[in-house]
């Protein structure tokens, strides 16, 4: 369906990534945000708190990130599209209830504007070092969906994808921005509301007495009932059966956890979103995301001038990882090069998919700034040898 026009600020704007992300959420139909201030993400909720009273949304600044995350999970059970926003330290605190959201199959969006870590790290400076935490941060087996914008425009655009995927797969979706994109101001074009397709909350049509909150038919996604509609359903963070009742058994654990993982893992190709450039016939393929994807393009241009056949895959959705595509390429190229603002995270995933056929070369930048394009060029030249 088309989105609610009330949330859409159609026009050309000069916005930073944080503001664009906030606008993206509102355009995607988000009407409940709970947050706790943390640099460099705060501008997202500042934007939202400015505009929400005029578009029927409710913002509450909670007492901490634990509460913010719990609140958006609670709110989502009323059918409202809900979101919270944070950075590394707060993201760590949210892990508990991100797990709850995954277990209860609650659609919601968590924005992490990444800064340098560990711990308090570099509050005002860029990092991309939460990528594995995004994948594995909460305990237990589950799969997650995580997006990575490379510009304020994409911070706006991909927000719709984030909310839509959360609804389609009934899962928390992580929006892994970085400080550089968050604090970078550029032109952002916000389209007309009738150009923005959103996935609304799909409510069950079952009769209350027949409804089972975790019953699935084929597609692995159970039907949703919201609080207050007379379904008197139960949901829990405990391992549960299709009625939502706790069942402490191996069988129940196997059925539930497999489904939680498989609903995303088996749909990875469907979910995957990446942009390719010059990959066919390339000797070296870069795998990039976020701000690093932009800087890497300069390195690629420099390497191409030296005659190297180099392609790039830019991940707009990092999790689930486009495993199939990377495996395909592994048989055809000489090496992968993975520049990232950390000491090696996504490169491990590339390496896993390359499965020893070709090397995956990390171009690390420790954070606080972005790569030097020459470093990326040099890594490409080295890889092409």
């Amino acid at each position: 369906m088309k989105t609610d026009p009330l949330g859409v600020l159609t026009g050309e704007h000069y916005l930073d990534g944080d503001y664009a992300c906030g606008e993206g959420a509102m355009a995607a139909g988000c009407r409940f945000v709970a947050g706790y201030p943390i640099t460099p993400s705060t501008e997202v909720v500042e934007r939202i708190s400015q505009r929400f009273p005029m578009i029927g949304g409710t913002f509450i600044q909670m007492e901490d990130e634990l509460a913010s995350m719990a609140a958006i999970v609670g709110a989502s059970w009323t059918g409202v599209k809900s979101m919270t926003v944070t950075s590394g330290p707060g993201f760590s605190l949210m892990m508990e209830n991100i797990g709850l959201a995954a277990m209860m199959e609650t659609p919601c969006v968590v924005v992490n504007v990444q800064r340098g870590g560990p711990s308090t790290g570099l509050p005002t400076m860029v990092g991309q070092a939460d990528m594995m935490q995004a994948r594995w941060g909460s305990h237990g087996d589950y799969e997650i969906i995580a997006l990575c914008p490379e510009s304020p425009q994409e911070a706006f655009d991909l927000m719709t994808d984030a909310f839509n995927l959360a609804e389609e797969y009934r899962t928390p979706v992580l929006f892994m921005m970085d400080e550089c994109v968050g604090h970078m101001t550029e032109k952002v074009v916000i389209p007309d509301p009738d150009k923005i397709d959103i996935v609304p909350r799909k409510l069950t049509r079952a009769k209350p007495e027949e409804y089972k909150p975790y019953l699935v038919n084929g597609n692995m996604i159970p039907e949703f009932a919201r609080a207050g509609d007379g379904y008197k359903f139960h949901t829990t963070g405990l391992t549960h059966d299709e009625k939502g009742y706790p069942v402490m058994s191996e069988e129940c654990q196997a059925v539930l956890v497999k489904r939680l993982v498989d609903k995303i893992r088996l749909n990875a190709d469907e979910i995957a979103k990446y942009k390719e450039d010059g990959v066919d016939g390339a000797d070296v393929v870069l795998v990039t995301y976020g701000i690093t994807a932009r800087v890497a393009r300069m390195g690629i241009d420099l390497a191409r001038k030296k005659g190297v056949k180099v392609g790039v895959i830019r991940l707009q959705i990092v999790w689930p990882f486009p495993e199939k595509r990377i495996r395909e390429l592994a048989g055809k190229i000489k090496a992968f090069v993975v520049p990232e603002i950390n000491y090696g995270q996504i490169v491990l995933e590339v390496e896993r998919c390359a499965a020893g056929k070709v090397p995956a070369i990390l171009v690390s930048h420790m954070g606080g700034g972005v790569h030097n394009p020459e470093d990326i060029r040099d890594a490409i030249l080295e890889a092409a040898k």
């Binding site: 009330l6 409710t58 207050g228 008197k232 139960h234």
Partner: protein, 297 residues
């Protein structure tokens, strides 16, 4: 002159059954545990207050009391440890017409969840919070709680507790809760009346129910059976409505001051928000509808 028999029920089923997921009975609570009594009184209060049950949600955290949300036949959310209050806050703000009750144990509510508790009370979020206080962490095996009275033994204070416990009604009152009461699980009628009254009020309503834990608290402290604990409540509880909450600390096996301490109407978070935005933004303010912020197809 005979009264009409109002209740026409199946003599084989308990009248509470519409409110309980009978397919999950028996519950996991130990013999003499008071949680079941509190649940019964809450169900009775719902029944007698004539509230639309479809609009009632129950949220609980982790621990023995945390299981309450799973046993009541309402929209029920069994969440994470300590986070029932913020979860319930989201539920209430996401669909303001809901009537949201939080059932929480003492460790859950004011131990791990203490920060959420004080802030929800401060904001006067429209929640009914029922605390079941048994002075101990029950489900994990009798560890020290933020409510354990001084000298009482717990599995992590084997020589007796020396930490000062919370006086939780006072904590709630000083943070601005609009309704504050305390009873023991023996006070079935007063408790039910308090639940009914609190269901009809708005804002952050807090009711503490002191309940027996014979499996751990009584055993570790050689206090006998659950029945002995209930007898202690009978002997040592004193109803003092309106008393200053500063004076109602609970010492080990000492007096338990019960009653209704606070009952004041104050604007809730949502009232304040609506009024403020109406005043500052005028016609530009678009409030979330009472039915919630869900965007319909």
């Amino acid at each position: 002159m005979s009264k009409v028999i109002e209740r026409t029920i199946d003599a084989t089923e308990h009248p509470i059954s519409p409110y309980i997921r009978m397919d999950r009975m028996p519950h996991i609570w130990c013999p003499t545990c008071g949680i079941g009594t509190v649940v019964k009184c809450y169900a009775t209060a719902l029944d007698e207050s004539g509230i639309d049950i479809n609009k009632v949600s129950i949220v609980s955290g982790i621990g023995c009391t945390g299981r309450t949300a799973g046993y009541m036949n309402l929209d029920g959310f069994h969440t994470t440890h300590g986070r029932a209050v913020p979860f319930a806050t989201g539920l209430k703000l996401g669909r303001p017409e809901l009537l949201v009750t939080v059932f929480s144990g003492d460790g859950d509510l004011v131990g791990i969840g203490g920060n959420h508790f004080i802030h929800a009370a401060r904001r006067n979020i429209d929640l009914l919070v029922i605390l079941i206080n048994n002075f101990i962490y029950g489900m994990t095996g009798g560890q020290n709680a933020p409510t354990t009275p001084i000298t009482a033994k717990t599995s992590t204070m084997p020589f007796g507790n020396f930490e000062r416990p919370f006086n939780i009604p006072h904590l709630a009152a000083s943070c601005g809760a609009s309704y504050v009461a305390r009873y023991t699980s023996l006070h079935v009628r007063r408790m039910t009346k308090a639940f009914k009254e609190a269901l009809s009020r708005k804002g952050f309503r807090f009711i503490e129910i002191v309940t027996p834990c014979s499996t751990l608290y009584a055993r570790l402290n050689k206090l006998g059976t659950g029945l002995n604990l209930i007898n202690y409540y009978e002997k040592s509880s004193e109803i003092r409505n309106g008393v200053d909450t500063r004076d109602i600390d609970i010492s080990f096996q000492d007096k338990i001051i019960c009653g209704k301490f606070i009952d004041e109407e104050r604007p809730t978070f949502l009232d304040m928000m609506h009024d403020h935005y109406k005043r500052t933004l005028g016609d530009r303010y678009v409030p979330m509808s009472n039915e919630g912020g869900m965007i319909r197809e």
